[in-house]
Structures are given as C-alpha cells and as structure tokens.
Amino acid sequence: MRPARALRGGLLLLAVVLMLFPAVWMLITSLKDIQDVYAATVFDFTPTLDNYRDVFVSTSAAGGASDLVTNFSNSVIITALATLLATLIGVPAAWGFSRFDLKGAKDQLFFILSTRFMPPVVVVIPLFVMYRWAGLYDTRTGLVLLYTAFNLPFTIWMMKGFVDEIPGEYEDALMMDGYSRLQAFRQGSLPLLVPGILATAVFSMIFTWNEFTFAVFLTGSTARTVPPAIAGLLGGQSTPWGLVAAAAMVFALPVLAFGFLVRKHLVAGMTFGAVRR
C-alpha cells in the first residue's frame, strides 16, 4: 500500500508542477523588474509591483490611464454584451428547437452548427473587407455582432440539451391552467434552466474574452481588446516582459474567479446529457 501511495503522490505532484509552472512563471515574471527578468536566477529577486502600476498608468510623461485600460474596458464591454446577446437569442431558440416540431429541425440545427466549422482565420479576410465597407472596422459594435454570431451555435446546441432534459409537461400543465405558451415557458421551464443558462453563458464568456484572431484583424486602436493588445507589446526595440506578464495576470484573473464561482454549474454543463432530472 505505502509505495503505491507514494507513487500516486509523486505523480500528482509532478502533474501539479507541470500544469502550474507556466502560471507561476508568469506570476514571478510580473513581479520582477526588467533586469531580474533577464537575470539567470528564477527566485532570487526583489519583488516589485511596478509592472502592475504600468498596466493601468501610462508611462509617458503626461501620465493618465494607459492604453491597456482602454483595452480592458473594451474587453469587458464586448464580452458582456456578446454573452448577453447570445444568451438572450440562443435560449429562446433552443427552447423552440426542443419543444416544437419544426420543419427540417435537424437540418437547421446542423446548419447552425456548421457556421462554426470554418476556422476564424479562413473567414477573417473577407470579414475585414465587409467590415471596412460597413463601417464596423475597429468598432465595439462590430466585435459584439461577430462574437454574438459565433457564440450562438454553441449556446443553441448546449441549451437545447438542457431544455430537452426538462419535461414539457411543466409547460403543458401551466397552459392547462390558462397561461400562454410563452408565460408557460417563463414560469415552468425558465427557473429550472437557470443553472444551464449560467454554464452556457460562462462558456460564451470565456470564448469571447480569450478570442484573438478576429480581434487582431478587425480592430485598430479604438476597439482593440486585451489579447491582441498584449501581443502588441511584444517585439519592437525591447519587450517589456514584466508588463506583458502583469497584463496577462490581470487579464486571466476575472475568468479564473468567475470559473471558480460557477464551477459546479460548469461541470453540470459539460456533462449535460448525463444530468438526471
């Protein structure tokens, strides 16, 4: 028994080290000044929060908020709106696909899914041309529209699974009691769908928050979100690794915190077919 336990502990430790190493490395780097970043030691340095200050405060002589602050507010606004819109449109759509016998429902669902088959980088050039023409280039609206469209298939498919799990009899019973179809949905199924909606919204949120390809091609300086902005810090004369790491830490934190808070729902969401009524 003992050697087996030791082995298991060792393997677990190895897994933890391997998985956490990049995050820890990033954290450490974010606390170093530029000399320490290039120094040959890993742990031997004086921690500094200067990098974190630089994330928020401009280093130029005039001071004020840094560009990254704009990027962060873009990311927050775009992610919130795209997730909200995808949920508001996708949940009723999923309910419709689940509850009603629609002509060619399977084909429609497949079509909806098929819009996600294409890798973003394939469509980004035509999208760029269209966005330039439509005046959506480098606007938050443009990215919100695009991310909503990209989140919808996922939202519809995942939510359909959740709605399928909830017996239609709840709504039938409400309709027998005099409620309309939509009232029955709101009173009967919607309260039971909340965990599923949360799980789905978190997935949408994470996708939108992390999206890079569209953001880098379809934004300039105004609507740029954080991922391409951080990438933009690289290169040039010298790369401010400490700042990159600090910005990445700040960027990762909301998703980590949110994911941690709703982790139960996330697991339920990922196993949606297997959840018992």
């Binding site: 009603f100 016998d101 429902a105 039938d172 027998m176 009691d177 005099g178 309309s180």
Partner: protein, 387 residues
C-alpha cells in the same frame, strides 16, 4: 360537465408524420372512456388535441356544445393529469393544488376550502405542506389528481397517469381513480397502453392503432368480440389465439385437424379464427381433437395457462389449477362447443359478418342543428397545424 365529440380528427406534424389519420368519437357526459393502443398509435396525440396542447390539422372537437377548435388549452375548462406528474418543484403540495385556482384569481377563502376538499377526497391532507421532492411517486400522483379535480372542470384528461408507479400501487390507484370518477360523475378520457388497466377502468374502450380507431365498445364486448385481428391480438392476457382455418362443411378446421363450430358468415378462403384461451380445453393424448405437446405452463394460482404446440402453432389454453399436465406432456386440444370462434378475413383483418355492435353513445350523436350552436366562426376553420 360535458361530453366530448370528435369528428374527422386528423393530426399531421410539420415533419410529415401522421399521428392521427382519421378519428370520429363520441364520449358521453359522465363517461369514463379509455383510449387504448400501443405506443405511437396516436392516442396521446388525440388526447393532446382534446386538451388544446396540440392543434389538429383538420376535424372538429366539441366539448359539451362548444366547438373548441383553435381555443387555447386554458380556455377549454378541462384538467389534465400527466404521466410525469408535472408538479411545480418549488411549491408545496398545497400551493400546487391551489395553483390552477389562483391562476383564475379565485378568492383566497374559496381556494382554501376547495383545496381542503380535494385533499380530503384523495386522503392527502397530512401531506399538504411538503414539497414534491419529499413525496413518493404515488403521493405525487395524488397531488396531481387533486390539482386536476380542484378546478371542477368539464372533463378530466389522463395521460398514462399510472405508468410510473410500481405494480401494487398502480392497482390501488386504478381502483381509486375509477371510484373518484364515479363519485364526481365527470367525463374522463384516460389514455393507456395497458389493456388490463383499460379493461378494469373503462365504461368503454377505444382501441387505437396507426392513428385510427380499430374498435369502440364496452370492455367485455371488446374482449368477446374483437372487431379486428389487431384488437384480438391486443386485448386479453393471454391474447386471443389466432390461426388459419379452412371451411369443412359445418365446421372450421385448424392446425392438426382442430375442429371449431363454423359461424354462418365464415365462407370462402383466407380465414383466420380467433379463439380465447378459455374456449379451448385439454384432454389426454388418446382423446378426440388436435394432438399437441405442452411447451410452457403459467400457474397463476386460480388458473393455469398452458401453451401447447399444435403442428407448429402455439395455442394458449386456460385450465383450472387442478389440471394435471406438465411441460412436455402429450395432450389433445379441443374447442368447447358452446363458444363460437371469431373469424377474420386475413386480408382486411376485419371480423366476418359480425359488424361491431351499434354503440349506444354513437346513437346519441348530436345532429346537424346541434352543431351550429355557439360556433365561433373564427374558431371553426381547421387549424393549420403549426404550433
């Protein structure tokens, strides 16, 4: 309270599936009518059309003298009990029962009085403060029943309400539902795939297959005189023995020379005889009849069902528990002369010469002048069928 009248009902779903081909039905006021059929036969769709949860492609549905085509479920004044009880999980039993009354803005004191009365009737008074998750399946179904009857509706619709209960409880609840319906005198349409349930509950049974009514009749009538091969094979435990026969003078001859009396209408070829297990008897191997071998015995206590292989045809024979036969015994099957077999045309599957007896309720079909009463023109057209 009201009867339910269905005329030319047809339901086709947008994906092209026809759930109900064509269905005419008269359910009398105060009747307990059972729609019986295998799954997917259209019985539940018919019920949902009556409820207003589905809208028929064509045909008319009347509840009492009201044409209800196109009316919303909530406007039909009927209550439905579901297989999955559909109790609101966040409400106590009391609030669940009160829900339909509150939805109709009934005064609080009246709600309280009627909830108490329904709870009394279903003997669930001491469960009223519990949430559905803390109730057993049988208790949940009682709450669902109480919720249906608290409204004092025109009719009850029951969609396989006992299917999810275990066998013992199912029999109790069956008795109780029958008793309740008789006491209230409210029309009830009860959908089930369980023929025992249908036989024991129904004032009349309608057997549905492939979206059509195969036969409508009182339980014993349906049992004795199945109108079609399907009905013969569906009703009864064991179902009717069905085997090919040929005419030989005043007799019909089945496998291994099994002789049956010939009903007058049985002529020509392509005949299938329908014989109940209790119409057959077993005697020793040297007696007159069709020789066979016992291949299975089901001892049910008060009787024993023998399955006998007669020239490759498996016949069920009902015998008293004192019968001496065992698996493997050579026996002779004979037909009790006092029973006349049913004879079916193997092509059409319909019984020969014995048209289904005239239905008492059918005779009271409202005539054409009745139909014009309170017909809202906006609702009289057939619904397009889209939800």
């Amino acid at each position: 309270m009201a009867g339910i009248h269905i005329e030319g009902l047809r339901k086709q779903f947008p994906d092209g599936t026809v759930a109900v081909e064509h269905l005419d039905l008269e359910i009398a006021d105060g009747e307990l009518f059972v729609l019986l059929g295998p799954s997917g036969c259209g019985k539940t769709t018919t019920l949902r059309c009556i409820a207003g949860l589905e809208h028929q492609t064509s045909g008319d549905i009347r509840i009492g003298d009201q044409l209800v085509n196109g009316r919303r479920a909530g406007e039909r004044d009927i209550a439905m009990v579901f297989q999955f009880y559909a109790l609101y999980p966040h409400l106590s039993a009391r609030d669940n029962i009160a829900f339909p009354l509150r939805a109709q803005s009934v005064a609080a004191s009246e709600v309280e009085r009627r909830v108490a009365a329904s709870a009394e009737m279903l003997k669930i008074t001491d469960l009223l403060d519990r949430k559905p998750s803390r109730l057993s399946g049988g208790e949940q179904q009682r709450i669902a029943l109480a919720r249906a009857l608290v409204r004092a509706p025109q009719a009850f619709l029951m969609d396989e309400p006992l299917t999810n209960l275990d066998a013992e409880l199912r029999i109790d609840m069956r008795t109780e539902i029958k008793h309740l319906q008789a006491e209230l005198g409210t029309t009830m349409v009860y959908v089930t795939h369980d023929q025992v349930e249908a036989m024991s509950l129904g004032d009349r049974i309608g057997i549905v297959n492939n979206g059509r009514l195969e036969q409508v009749g009182a339980p014993l009538d349906v049992y004795r005189n199945p109108a079609t091969l399907f009905a013969a094979g569906f009703i009864g435990t064991p179902p009717m023995n069905l085997f090919d026969v040929r005419v030989d003078g005043q007799a019909l001859v089945g496998p291994a020379g099994l002789r049956l009396p010939r009903p007058a209408a049985a002529t020509g070829t392509g005949l299938v005889a329908g014989v109940r297990a209790e119409w057959l008897g077993l005697v020793g191997p040297d007696d007159d009849g069709a020789p066979g071998q016992v291949v299975a015995t089901e001892s049910l206590g008060d009787e024993t069902i023998y399955v006998v292989d007669v020239e490759g045809e498996l016949l069920s024979v009902r015998e008293p528990p004192t019968a001496p036969w065992r698996d493997g015994d050579a026996v002779t099957v004979h037909h009790h002369a006092r029973f006349e077999p049913r004879v079916y045309d193997s092509e059409s599957g319909r019984a020969l010469g014995t048209e289904p007896p005239e239905d008492p309720a059918e005779a009271s079909t409202p005539d054409a002048t009745d139909r014009s009463v309170s017909t809202d023109p906006a609702h009289s057209g057939a619904d397009a069928g889209t939800p």
